[in-house]
């Protein structure tokens, strides 16, 4: 299903400031705490409309935001698309709504348990 996420431990980068370069004791040490996030692990299910869904949705969030949802109605998915546009400012043309919703409804099967 998905690749195992790679463990990437937090790296502590110790950089020496200019003062240290001229042999001043380590008063100018700066410790930067940096991490590297694993790559996104989940893909959208291949189905009609998936390229459109990738184009419009992945700008702001990974596919799990869609793939993990319960079986939502057409009305519920339509409301979600409208929220992305109105509340989060996603530049989704109104003309794409039907195709996006059709994919979203179809990719979450009706709950059977």
């Amino acid at each position: 299903m998905t690749r195992r996420m790679q463990a990437l431990g937090a790296a502590v980068i110790v950089a020496l400031g200019a003062a240290a370069l001229v042999a001043t004791p380590a008063t100018a040490r700066v410790k930067i705490v940096a991490i590297q996030l694993p790559p996104q692990g989940t893909a959208f299910r291949t189905a009609p409309g998936v390229e459109l869904v990738r184009h419009e949705c992945l700008t702001c969030h990974s596919a799990e935001y869609v793939t993990q949802q319960p079986a939502l109605s057409k009305a519920a998915w339509t409301a979600e698309v409208a929220k992305m546009r109105a509340a989060y400012g996603a530049p989704i043309p109104a003309s794409e709504t039907d195709d996006l919703v059709a994919y979203l409804v179809a990719q979450n099967p009706v709950a059977t348990k």
């Binding site: 195992r4 431990g9 410790k31 940096a34 991490i35 692990g41 969030h61």
Partner: protein, 397 residues
């Protein structure tokens, strides 16, 4: 009905033909429809349940809560809102800017916060408002958490109250707004900002925290500084906090005016068909309790059996925990563990006789010192879930 709240399969290795390279994918299945999840290792974290990868959201495996009242930093759940999460922090350059409707705006470095203000600690539960959303019936859209979007920690930092006193809120100040370093992908997406009424913000328990459980915050939990609002839902606990603005009018931003609100109805609950009701911003955690040492679906040995768990509420403290072996028909009082403060997890223990061949439905039910109880509720965002949990078990014949 049967709210199995444990991982059904905690680490089933997914079949793979890979002969070299990455280890096999580890998966978990949360006990609701479409609950298959990947287990993932993120920096400074043990293997956790991957909710989403961008922005990163990680759920704590439920077994962690049986290990003690405090949730280890490397097991603590993660929830960001916007895709550009800070991943590189220079603590010597980090500052928090305190401004707005104040007399003397100021910018504090971490060293300045530590040296100018008293350092204090508070034990407090951090719980996502949408914790347990996957158990909402009927289901609702949103992050599909099981019960692992909560944790308890010993937070250390300086009082927000003291920092506000240093900048002197102006006459007419009504709220304080908090923003961290996470950023949206689009300029049109609202920045993540949360506000507290000034009357709440001066509560001496609210901290600008730089440590949890005696160590620096993990980067994914908001290093180097986060807001800690004991008793309030996690949405207010802004991570990588670098901006505090005192407002002289109620905040109108999306995250306060539209998001993270609940119906202004009894118990903030409505029926799915209801509409037209007013809403209010989320505030305090609801009272909850969990059985932590026995998993749903387990087969247990006959005889005297020990059961234990945790309870917490929105800051009044736990008065009693009831324990039932018959799905809540009859209850007996559990024994409460040590009191770590009114915002903390509270352990509880009980014993019961398991007779050979029995099928039992274990349940726990907490009551706060103000009489708040666990209830069934529904609201369209799946917030404040605190139904009584049940754990069905079979006793060996």
């Amino acid at each position: 009905m049967d709210r199995k709240r444990f991982l059904a399969a905690s680490a089933a290795a997914a079949a793979s033909a890979a002969t070299v390279g990455p280890a096999l994918a580890q998966t978990a299945t949360l006990p609701f429809f479409n609950g298959d999840r990947t287990l993932a290792r993120y920096p400074q974290k043990r293997e956790l349940i991957l909710l989403t990868s961008r922005p990163v959201q990680l759920e704590t495996p439920f077994s962690v809560y049986d290990a003690g009242e405090f949730t280890p930093n490397d097991a603590f759940f993660v929830r960001w809102h916007l895709p550009n999460v800070p991943t590189s922090v220079d603590p010597s350059a980090f500052t928090v800017n305190v401004h707005g409707a104040v007399t003397t705006p100021a910018t504090f470095s971490l060293d300045a916060l530590r040296s100018q203000f008293e350092s204090v600690e508070v034990n407090a539960v951090l719980e996502c408002a949408g914790n347990s959303r996957g158990f909402t019936t009927p289901r609702v859209a949103g992050g599909q958490w099981a019960n692992g979007a909560m944790g308890n920690a010993r937070w250390r930092g300086v009082r927000l109250r003291d920092v506000l006193a240093a900048v002197q809120p102006a006459t007419g100040a009504v709220q304080v707004r908090f923003q961290g370093a996470e950023r949206p992908a689009l300029a049109t997406t609202p920045q993540f900002q949360k506000s507290l009424d000034l009357s709440v913000a001066v509560d001496p328990n609210i901290l600008l925290a730089y440590q949890m459980n005696g160590a620096d915050l993990p980067v994914l939990n908001g290093y180097p500084l986060r807001l800690v609002v004991p008793g309030y839902f996690g949405t207010y606990w802004v991570k990588a906090l670098n901006d505090i603005e005192v407002l002289n009018a109620p905040d109108q931003n999306f995250w306060m005016k539209t998001a993270y609100r609940v119906p202004n109805t009894p118990n903030n609950s409505v029926a799915p068909a209801d509409s037209g009701y007013a809403t209010v911003p989320l505030s305090n955690l609801t009272v909850r309790s969990f059985i932590t040492n026995i998993a749903a679906g387990a087969t247990i040995a006959a005889g005297r059996t020990a059961v234990r768990g945790i309870a917490f509420d929105g800051g009044n403290g736990i008065k009693t925990v009831g324990f039932s072996t018959d799905g809540g028909t009859t209850w007996s009082d559990a024994t409460l563990g040590r009191d770590l403060g009114r915002f903390s997890f509270r352990r509880w223990t009980a014993t019961f006789d398991a007779k050979p061949g029995q099928s039992l439905v274990l349940a726990s039910r907490a009551t706060s010192t103000t009489g708040e109880q666990q209830i069934e509720r529904w609201n369209p965002s799946g917030y404040q879930h605190n139904a009584v949990e049940t754990v069905a078990v079979t006793v060996q014949a």
